[in-house]
Symmetry: D2
Amino acid sequence: MIEVGPNSYGKSAIRLVKVDRDQAPHRVRDLTIAIALAGDFATSYSEGDNSAVIATDTMKNTAYALAGEHLTGSIEGYGLVLGRHFLAAGREVDLVKVSIDAHAWRPIDSAPDAFTRDASETRKADVSVSRDGFLVEAGIADLVVMKTTRSAFAGFPRDRFTTLPETDDRIMATKVTASWGYARDAELDFDAVFDRVRSTFLGAFADHDSASVQHSIWVIARAILEAHPEVDDVTMSLPNLHHWTVDLSPYGIANDREIYVATKEPHGLIEATIRRADIGSVERPGTS
Amino acid sequence: MIEVGPNSYGKSAIRLVKVDRDQAPHRVRDLTIAIALAGDFATSYSEGDNSAVIATDTMKNTAYALAGEHLTGSIEGYGLVLGRHFLAAGREVDLVKVSIDAHAWRPIDSAPDAFTRDASETRKADVSVSRDGFLVEAGIADLVVMKTTRSAFAGFPRDRFTTLPETDDRIMATKVTASWGYARDAELDFDAVFDRVRSTFLGAFADHDSASVQHSIWVIARAILEAHPEVDDVTMSLPNLHHWTVDLSPYGIANDREIYVATKEPHGLIEATIRRADIGSVERPGTS
Amino acid sequence: MIEVGPNSYGKSAIRLVKVDRDQAPHRVRDLTIAIALAGDFATSYSEGDNSAVIATDTMKNTAYALAGEHLTGSIEGYGLVLGRHFLAAGREVDLVKVSIDAHAWRPIDSAPDAFTRDASETRKADVSVSRDGFLVEAGIADLVVMKTTRSAFAGFPRDRFTTLPETDDRIMATKVTASWGYARDAELDFDAVFDRVRSTFLGAFADHDSASVQHSIWVIARAILEAHPEVDDVTMSLPNLHHWTVDLSPYGIANDREIYVATKEPHGLIEATIRRADIGSVERPGTS
Amino acid sequence: MIEVGPNSYGKSAIRLVKVDRDQAPHRVRDLTIAIALAGDFATSYSEGDNSAVIATDTMKNTAYALAGEHLTGSIEGYGLVLGRHFLAAGREVDLVKVSIDAHAWRPIDSAPDAFTRDASETRKADVSVSRDGFLVEAGIADLVVMKTTRSAFAGFPRDRFTTLPETDDRIMATKVTASWGYARDAELDFDAVFDRVRSTFLGAFADHDSASVQHSIWVIARAILEAHPEVDDVTMSLPNLHHWTVDLSPYGIANDREIYVATKEPHGLIEATIRRADIGSVERPGTS
């Protein structure tokens, strides 16, 4: 017997720009949206029966059509509107996931109508809406950060394949992918909380002494959880973008942690969720 | 109370090329390897205690060091060697995941020592090794395929945001990411089975009439499961790379499914696992 | 006094797919087209006068509109049609450059209507049409090739910053960007000549002993020029994708040119044109 | 007779990070460097004679070795040091081109040792040094800018393939690649001039009414040339990243320039040099 297991379908890479010219500077929202539905769609696979399959083209149209009226506050709020729309659109739908990347534009000086795109960071919102409730996760992607001191890596086990020296002062650099889940409050001021969590993130990154990337994840996530009761858990995926001290001794030149080669391949990759222990059993909507 | 939840760490993007010159043509293996460990590493986060943290640099060294002796057969076999090595390397390690991408090189005509890289497809192996056993998943990535007839999409629900016309003859194109899990037999001839499953995949893709991407996933996966008892389940992630018929009527030119614009954004995305119903309860090693 | 110097404008990344279903297997053409015009457009800059500025949107429309009737033979031939069209479209136009990338699709077995995309290589055609004549350059891009023996690099000068050892047996790998210009014969069988030049390219790459990437460029280009009188010159841009032998001696393991690390950064880059000396003075259409 | 035509060789993608910890915040320089040599290297091609071929590996080593002492001011200044070094390194060298991309890092608040990478813009310097002199070009890449009003495109010719409506109010967005050449003064304060030119660039972009991308190039370049006598010419390559108003009328929704779809393919591409007429005859070092 062959059966359909976990599945979802939807539209990705919907590129939507909304310009509000009734303020100065104009407000530019630049989003990349993905929408995915899960539910009772087994016969669309096994029978080729499309009678319940909301076209992904319709999903795209809907994102544009609802943006005028509903993309007025946070991206989390707009994601909830889209999620609820598609949950209501078909009784076979059990779960709607809406993922929104927001690309920031900064006004040029005092111009009302000219902007540069801030490519240093992407704000993310992942909204899941099911018949039982909803979940909102906010996050940051594409943000590259560096510590030029106060980063160590020592005390690790050595075997016959270990050649890495211990160090108490290395460069630590990483491209941050971080997300955090909010307690279920649809009335949260998502924009304000995002700014506060982001600020805690950067402050903790800057302030701590790092014993390892793992340790940094803990310190930063704990700071967020301690400062922001709205946050249930923090997940990070941090590549360790190695900067190696260049050996200049063949040329008779000293190099006391001054000249480095930046590398992309290979890279360490550290991933963890840090959470409140007492909410570990909260069930999240899923495709199971 | 704040605690460490699910976590893993390791090395990614290890680029390894092995050349065996004792045959004609030479055998070139070109791999991108990722290794990740999970287990009892909570104090490496919360205490900055690295005493159990096998350095990711050591993981890289080990991949190179073991390749001479152990990268002699399938990438699945080499992945199992690496997985078992790291499981034995530290008692805190509960699970080792080894992911290997194999990039193919084709000899130029009858030359023994000159090759072109086949960029059309990546062969993948994901090996998980735990104290309880192991799991091997093989797969294909980066393979772009197209059906120029026998692909339809009709009978879908229409609401006020639906503008897509029904069609009984569209182009279907997708970039395949597919994987399949093997029953737990470490002695499987992984190379031979891979070739057979791949052949079934392409044959089923070419032969069937598609009612939707969902339907195509079912047809292809069912063909694989029916033909290959070694395979437990098949998972696919298929972006729908839309090709739209160009409206040439403003210029007085007919276009009967001849001239298309190929697009990347936005794209549909269909993901599903198709599996044997009777093995649905097999437990897989995980990080839970 | 400020003036407009060299300039051009046009449309890039026009993605066009044409399917001819009147043969088995179907013929799939998959092109990425760029069109650029140069000429007497100074006032479009200095005065904002668009009266001569053929809209780039119109260029895109034209590429689709003419494909049915005119994209029937080689991409070079289609490029000439587009070039002549735009040269005739406005008297301010002095030069039209049409660049076409062709992406190949291979039938799956004997299927008439199912294909895999061959991503290993892009065929290119650059066509320049002016009031004085035209120039056609054909080429290859994205083709990655490797020699596993018969590649050396020795005898180079050493100064105090030189640490690279001499080698008489290294891996040479590169991602080929090559183009060659044809004598001005619009009736050339561009498809047949392309296949022959490509075959000479690969054969020469496979057969020669390389003293350096520079030397390889010469050997391959000379072979093309000697075998193909239609070709005036050959230009290559070859990154040297270094493969470094891994030092396994710290682990007591020998590595006699067997295990390599493949790298992307940094890379050598060798660029040269090899040409017939007696045609060096042929003038080419340009923007001067 | 077959001969070697224009050629060059060198090392690209040299990734160098220098950290100066003697100030607060630390000064982080993050560069990607390419070095290319041209000159009397014909026999390295035709004879495989490497006796004059400074190894590209040596070029890389030299960039790291000289950074401690010489990467102390502007990247233009460091480029001149590298250029002169390689011009002196071999008598066959006629021309050295050094291209440097500088990636900016911003301190996190008042931290002395923690930074975020500013990915919104790359500062570029291209330095050419020959036996006859030198040329310095500075520039900007990767900067995405948008005008939300005061951009028009009308008055263009219409033929049977023209469907684009005229508009007096569109979004104009582009990813800037701009460079400008300096009069030959090696003692210029390159950092200060760069900042001033960049400021003029952004100010002119924000302030002007655009009749087309061509017109915008003129207005911005003229503003730079008028304000900065150090600058001889300005070259821009501007893709027109089209934002199309979404037609929401099928859903009974008005869309008065509020909701747009952002696209990448196809895109317009406008390239031009704007220059002082009276210096048009200055010869530049080249490979001819």
